[in-house]
Symmetry: D2
């Protein structure tokens, strides 16, 4: 969790803190109190909760480290703790959408209050190195929640028959245009170093840097596209159990999956998909998005290839080739957040289970619950997506979701 990099000067940290906080506000500006309150499934959270929880993180771990600190409202510790067992009892996750008070205005005031106090502490120089590390961690944590917040808003709005628009966007000029051709990058094998080298911020799960053996591999130069996915569908991809993992086939049968998340097909419009700009035609050349690990794995098998491991993925990305992994201008997905991601339009499922690196260690205290305790039955995604905040992507970054999750902006890249 801690960074081993030299501390940036305090002014820069303060500026970063305020920039991150302002970005959250910008993202939620056009969501009314009604939009910010409900929770559309257990795995998602209300916008209002994301805004309060990221604030509570600074309050609990930075301001609260001072024994003289008086919390704004002791109940917030109960309401806005996500999963930190060491902090105590908390509001049940599945019922976050039932918390109507504090309302949006009170949450905004809470945000402002904690911000002002934190800036004061940054400016008066009373935060020690460990707490400054936690401020930096809190900024990255809030950036993670910025992406979650958009995923969750999309899921919430998608269930509304009105198919609401979160952000306006012009129609795509030619949804049927061909994608760029697929090519292959050769990545030579051998003993390879994987993981963060300590020169900048990284999450605990990216550490320690360690050696692995890799065989030679070829990795696709671009992500799999919607055009390719439609061929998979048309070839019976969702009807052939031989392509699927056993758990994946069971999930398909239980859910009725026959296309990526948010896709719908009707006679008048062909394939459409729900986006943060409402329901729109599926664009052939865009990377396929909102697929589960099960689907990515089945597609790769159908294509006669496979998913890369996370180590293969990192070795390729670290080699500097094809650093820009995506296909498209990210503002196609979200104009208000243009050019924000440098690594791709969609996260890429890998073949790797999410397990600790050799020598992995958690931070002491409650913040040690950050990543390690989720290293079970999840799968690693690498890269970034069009809604990942700017500068919040690294070649060592390990994102993770359960094999059946589809509400992340998740796609795939092939290996062979």
């Amino acid at each position: 969790m801690t960074t081993t990099s030299p501390r940036p000067d305090l002014a820069a940290l303060t500026e970063r803190f305020l920039a991150v906080r302002a970005r959250t506000d910008r993202l939620t500006r056009d969501l009314g109190p009604e939009d910010q309150t409900p929770q559309s499934m257990t795995e998602a959270s209300p916008t209002k909760w994301h805004r309060a929880h990221t604030t509570w993180f600074f309050e609990e771990f930075v301001l609260g480290a001072d024994p003289a600190y008086r919390p704004r409202d002791p109940a917030f510790r109960y309401l806005f703790n996500s999963y930190y067992e060491a902090v105590g009892e908390r509001h049940p996750r599945a019922a976050r959408g039932h918390v109507t008070r504090p309302g949006v205005a009170e949450v905004a005031a809470y945000r402002q209050d904690v911000e002002e106090q934190l800036v004061a502490r940054l400016e008066d120089g009373t935060l020690d190195e460990a707490l400054l590390d936690l401020v930096e961690l809190g900024c990255h944590h809030e950036e993670q929640h910025q992406e979650l917040l958009l995923m969750d808003v999309k899921h919430l709005l998608s269930g509304n028959v009105l198919q609401p628009v979160y952000v306006e966007r012009a129609p795509d000029p030619d949804p049927a245009a061909d994608p760029v051709p697929q090519r292959w990058t050769h990545v030579p094998g051998g003993v390879t170093h994987i993981g963060d080298d300590g020169s900048g911020f990284a999450f605990d799960n990216e550490r320690p840097r360690h050696r692995v053996w890799l065989d030679d591999v070829e990795v696709g130069t671009r992500q799999v596209t919607n055009a390719e996915w439609v061929r998979f569908i048309d070839d019976g991809g969702y009807a052939r159990p031989d392509l699927w993992l056993s758990d994946g086939w069971a999930t398909l049968q239980a859910t009725g999956w026959d296309a990526p998340g948010y896709w719908r097909r009707d006679d008048d419009h062909g394939w459409t998909t729900f986006t943060l700009s409402g329901r729109r035609p599926v664009v052939a050349a865009e990377p396929v998005c909102h697929i589960s690990f099960f689907e990515a794995d089945a597609f790769a098998r159908w294509a006669g290839h496979r998913l890369p491991t996370e180590q293969e993925w990192e070795a390729r990305a670290a080699s500097g080739r094809e650093l820009r992994g995506g296909l498209l201008d990210p503002d196609r997905c979200h104009p208000g957040l243009a050019a924000e991601s440098t690594l791709g339009d969609v996260w890429e499922w890998t073949a790797s289970a999410y397990v600790p690196y050799p020598g992995f260690e958690t931070a002491p205290g409650a913040v040690g619950e950050y990543n390690g305790k989720f290293m079970n039955d999840q799968h690693v995604l690498r890269g970034a997506s069009a809604i990942t905040p700017p500068h919040h992507s690294r070649v060592t970054y390990r994102n993770f979701f359960p094999a059946g999750a589809r509400w992340a902006f998740s796609g795939l890249r092939l290996a062979r």
Copy 2:
């Protein structure tokens, strides 16, 4: 569903319509958009939804009867239909809390629009008798939802650790004061007429008036009180399976019930209960509230008595004795709505299953789904509660809930 009473003049109906609509607005005035959006369980609905659904009822069944009518938004038919199969597909009940748009302001505008159009139709005299009947039905329907709305708000707010206050109320001067003594009213048996006689408005389930045979019975002069319920608890009422119906005991074991809904006991405050005025001490002399049929039945068995049937209840009420069934000033529960109920502070579970009266008939068309299709595995409650709207109570009124429901304002009265 239809009334057989002479039509009140149109001016009176218009006045009633506007009064009912205004009362709904008054009840929801102090609930913010956040409070009005979520749904705390499948059986409850968002405030916003109640406001829109009651409006849709008038739009669908009255305005929509005119083929020239253009709905405000065709999607509202999908969003705000509760259960009318004949009207078509509808938004899933369990996900009403995920509908963030239309928001509270748009719902208010929808209410106003439909109101204005309906008043215009009432004033221009173009509504025939059947449609005027439906306007009257719509007023009663909206009153039912006024009570549901308060039940649902209470359930929603109760889950918040802040225990919010919906309406302020002064502390009770003496929560431990003794209740008035229980006495018994003798109700003579014989062939008795039960059900609505057609002289005023009644729901379809109160019809037709018919004969039953009743034996002599004695019915309590007041409802069972909190003081008596505490004795039941202290005597192991929740630990003795011999007192309970089999389904009730299974429910108790699955839920962990050990006191009425919303009750909590702690060392500092003894028994408290959550009310629309926040968490407060249990008042000994008030009628016990938020109990299930299972608990009412077990209590009666423990007390050596039984629940009255709905016919016994009605025979007693119709005899004019003890018409005022409750114990207390209703504004104890809800000062803003003082003196509104004339029949009691809590609905009273009866021994009767909710089945059709002999000769029961449903209205033609979608509105025929009003009551009849719910006549399965529910239990009849009679009377009214402190949150029942004024004039919305009748000695023939049949309320109904499943045996395990506790979020209604439900209590009991004994018979022997």
Copy 3:
């Protein structure tokens, strides 16, 4: 529970006891240990368990009343108690099929041991009147389980792709032959006596005899047939929500019901049904069987009629007209048990919820749990079925099942 009839002489009671016991053995003779062990759903029980439980009933309530009695195995009290809370902890109902020991041979030995001891007690005259009542109750109890046992075996075998035969039966000569025509019996109304008059054995739920008011009614002279049910299916009976109770429609959608239980339709054979004699063509003139209350109710609505109440049913049956309610030779269903039922081929759903009669009282002690505690959310069936034991039917008999149950031999008769 107690009988008020004069005690038959002991020899007759002993003879009856042995006859009932022998009939259970005869019914299970052709079921192997494998057939007798599993439980195909929570509501069903293994054959082996039925045989042991009916034995335990005599051991617990009759032999066990003697303080000197030493149980054959104390664990049997835990294993073979069905639901008597007052007797203590018991094996979980849903896991009865996991109890492999005692095996079938040990259960047979247990049966014989208890029988011999009970006969000895009957012969030495040491059982008082209350215990003799319990012996008689135990015989009726075992007869109830004889029917349950056959229901449960049918359900178990039906799930086997081999469609096993429990009892051989010749092919029906003409499955398409027309049923006898439907006619109507007029039953005059007025104050009517309902319930058992105490002149012979009856269960507690048939008591006390009491007065009700009935209006005039006409009741069908025969049960609804398979031919009529096929017309209901062909007319969209399973696709029209307006015909169904709300809970029924929800059940239909959740289960996919589109025909009675055990029915299947394929191109080669048309409609077939699974019977205790294997899968066979549906016989047009036989009463429809294995329908739920929801389906019976929907059919009656579709037919423009209704179900009789249990009081109407009893008034008609008691009048002596049409005492033989069924259509068919019962051995069509079960040749080994020919001519056993005098009241019908299938139980008949009524419109009545299963509630206590006015003045209902339970017996003291554990045996008081016999019927009363199940009087919640169940529906009354009247008559008897082709698998009801001989002499185990009365015009006052009240059978009951939940509204969605289909594994009983249940059909319907119309009223208007």
Copy 4:
């Protein structure tokens, strides 16, 4: 799946085939038809089913390869296919315990019939290399089911209040005797070869042999004992969320785990555990058994160590040190099967998720579903257990179960 080793002569293969088959019969000899029929949970299977399924495997994949082969009963293909989608529809897994026919005797006849035909095919030399490979695979497959069968029987019998004995065993002379001390084996790191080298039989998931990088590691010389586990319990191991993975803690709270599977504590006997020889005292020096991955992981964290990866485990085992991994005489667990396992008394959870080795390939045809499709959300166990068949263990063997499974004979060994 295929072996690359030279084919043993046919006589030896025939002998092995008959020996494996005879061992299955020996294991089930003392289980009655009642014991062999039920299924105590979805993940377990009836003994009778194991016996038939292993037979079906030979029939389907070896005998059935001959187009002239006529199956004994076509329904067996439906009843006894476990999960091979390519073979067609099959009986639902969760309802295997409801299949009462064919009975135990018919299954025995089915076994004998297939055996005789297979031996005839082996002896007449008409099986090609691929089919001989499948005979060998079928033998290993049946050995896997021998272990599953014992696991499942134990689970089934454990739920019986009589706590039945599958195999008699003398009391342990001194259950409280101290275990041997824990020491550590140093395993040097570097580029290491992992996986089967093709010199003998191996499952597909052990292939291909490939290189990995390993750091130096120390691995415990013995498995964790019951004595150590009791200290973990006494130190609050089941009450401290900081020790647990998030999914593990959720599982603990949902299930109420507070000790290994089958353990029970009472005042009279202290800790006891259910074994194939009935309920017995927990023996301090035996390896802890019937723990989930979650518990193994929490224990390791509590002990200040960690689980080895499967590669570390294999590197240590392959080095020839401590090949005999267990602590105890295996016949302590199962006297009838003494000295059968050479690698340990319990399987050992590793830190590794069950994912394919680099270059993993499945066999063509239905048999290709053997292992690969289960490589999702499972965890690797290494070694063997006291109930693993003789000669059915290899240093490259990869067993796997979900993280919450406890009915395998699973324990752990520490690394640091």
